[in-house]
Amino acid sequence: MYPDYMAESLRKVAQTRSKRLELAKKTEPVYPPMNAEERQAVLEGFHPDYESSARRTVRVGPNKGETLTTEVSELLESHSWLRSEQVDLKKPDFETDLLIIGGGGAGCNAALVAMQEHGMRSIIATKLRMGDANSMMSQGGMQAAVSRTDSPTRHYLDAIGGGHFENKPELVRALTEDGPGVVKWLEDLGVVWDKEQDGSMKVMHGGGTSRKRMLSCRDYTGAMIMRTLMDEVRNHPDMIDIKEFMPAVELIMDDKGRCAGAILYSMDSEEFFVVKAKSTLIATGGYGRLHIRGFDTTNHYGSTGDGLVMAYRAGAKLMYMDSVQYHPTGVSFPEQIAGFLVTEAIRGAGGQPLNKDGELFVFPREPRDIEASAIIRECVQNGGGIPTPSGRVGVWLDSPLIDMLHGEGYTEKHFPAMYRQFIRYGIDIAKLPMLIYPSLHYQNGGIEINERCETDIPGLYVAGEATGGLHGRNRLMGNSVLDYNVFGRRAGRYAGEYAKTVKLGKLSLDHLDSYEKELANAGVKTDLVTPVLLPSYAPKDVKKRQLLRGNNVLPGASVLQNRLFDERPDA
């Protein structure tokens, strides 16, 4: 239940509701959408990326001299878990055609396609369990231009406008053109899409869509897709070898500068394993658990940007790593679920963001960066926010409108996950609004790829959230689910094809030594060891006591050091 002091504000929301319901029933927008100038102004004034300390120059690596998100620069200016001379590459522990790093949606798609189209075997190495990925958590849906009023080219225009015209055109084309085929592929694997009575796909609006294009599986869209893909992957144990709790910590190269596999680390036994692979796919997802700028995050436990740093050390270039996506509607209260995602589909179905006086202050379906900035502006500049007992702030997202627009029971039926999440705390979202604030959601940039998922490094492929270029500096809702399906499949196709012909040379980790030298030459002093693998949520005093374990040498102490990075006096 909401604390008593919010009652006055809740009463105002209820008072203005009937008038706002009338607005919502009309075809015109309930609040004027922003033009290009207004968008730019709200971004520059209030988007967290534009704060002065949000970005800094990176001093080493392929993007040296560029301005990146501060936490990303920190992540890249770090030491490896490994020293090349300590690793014996002569006798690999495992060999395979395609090594897939990451057991989310992109990885599963790639393994299936490489097997079906090229007869290639894969190893999927993943940090936690299969499917412990943001892919599993997507609620609201997947964009794909399937309805008769829509077209793939219209989807292209929406995506590239939402990304402020900075997206790589060939990637956006691949995304939007492959979209309808992906819907069919998933349906034939057994994904249960929401449908209308006549069998046509149920479509909804998302932020920045000019046509209703959001396909869904209730509000368990990602879970439905992910469980179907995982189940199919597990139907082929002879072709796809799954290694859980075994994240990659470095890539292996060969003497001709091609990627030739990776070193895996067992979370259980703390051993390292050498995997030799003809081609390698990074499908490690994003970085929400780095809690950039101290924000709460919607992301799963293992989203620590591992693929970024491994690829960067090996020489792959990053793109748009100065841009972070904050989802406009993360939970602000109750504290136990703070930061959790409130699907954009709530606004797609008619939910409205409101200030403490129950007034609209932004069009509910602006692209995400615009919507999030407008919410921050309302709280920071206009004082329209509602403070929470734990020191957060939020605005209302008026969900009771949804039942009023679509009929009683609609919210509970179509948003069962959302309903469940709040009813546990005595908040019935069909009767009361939710208190929300932007939450760290998505890595807009990443490792630069082309439409074949290729990088600067032969044999190294990347797909999904780990890539950069597709979404420009702002992704639209529903394009990430489509992304991991489209580019996961493409990665399987092209990495599988490449694996058929490549003859690898001598394996090498020399790139780690060069990177260490570059760090030293640039005068970087840090005790950060990456990939980070897992965040720590131990209280500060517990961390301090953990620090007492002395004289640890790398890599055994890496996990501990990463956890304590912010506590070390000389860091």
Partner: protein, 246 residues
């Protein structure tokens, strides 16, 4: 909360505040795998385990109730009942004694969906244990999602794939039902197969989807893509802001 240097300053500055906050916090005692810890009264079970200083490796995934990694069993003082919940979603309570069950042993059937039929035969072939159900309803009572698990097991026995799909739609595969089931049925795994059978065979086909896939294959959008991709940023921007909305 942050783990990188970007937040170092804020963190050390807020350390005093945090201590103050901790001091004001009401604490309760919970028993994590037998050992007592003092944790904040408002914490979730997952929050309590982390507050106690454990680094969870198994037993945490999405942390938002979608992935089923954090299945937990617990008892409350003075109550004989074994209760179940997701650690990320369930609040800790005074005197709670708990253990996480991050993995439940279960064998997934290996099958070719193209060779199965969407009726009782698939259940008989792949998950025959379903027919051992004694209708005790323990599965339903143990489901942290509040699903009617026994009802979908009964539907599976009748070969009613559509009902299995509908009732198991929100299953997060935490495995608590199959752990508690006296007939040792693997309900969530069977339900995944049933959902796939529904999607593959029993769905109503969408005519416009087939048409659109065909149009893409035939290159219907080639010319329009070529035009959009060759436009200057200014022209593209004009086209974007002038587009109509459904």
């Amino acid at each position: 909360m942050g783990i990188t240097a970007g937040t170092t300053k804020n963190l050390s500055a807020s350390l005093a505040d945090e201590k103050k906050r901790v001091a004001e916090q009401r604490l309760i005692t919970v028993y994590i795998m037998g050992k007592a810890y003092e944790v904040p009264a408002e914490a979730t079970i997952m929050g309590a385990i982390e507050y106690a200083g454990h680094q969870i490796i198994r037993g945490a995934g999405c942390r938002e109730g979608y992935c089923g990694a954090c299945a937990t069993i617990y008892r409350l003082p003075g109550d004989y009942k074994i209760r179940t919940g997701l650690a990320c979603m369930t609040l800790a309570e005074e005197g709670m004694t708990l253990a996480q069950i991050p993995s439940v042993p279960a064998e997934k059937a290996i099958y070719d969906i193209e060779k199965l039929k969407p009726n009782v035969s698939a259940i008989q072939q792949m998950y025959p244990s379903v027919f051992r159900c004694v209708a005790c309803n323990t599965c339903t009572r143990s489901c942290p999602q509040g699903l009617q698990v026994m009802d979908y097991v009964q539907a599976a026995k009748r070969g009613d794939i559509a009902t299995v799909m509908d009732l198991s739609f929100d299953c997060v595969v935490c495995g608590l039902c199959m752990l508690r089931c006296p007939a040792e049925i693997t309900q969530p795994l069977m339900a995944i197969m049933a959902k796939r059978l529904y999607g593959r065979y029993l769905r109503q086909d969408s005519p416009e989807l087939a048409e659109r896939v065909k149009a893409v294959e035939e290159g219907v959008y080639e010319a329009e893509y070529a035009e959009l991709m060759s436009m200057s940023r200014e022209d593209l921007s004009k086209r974007y802001y002038a587009r109509d909305t459904e």
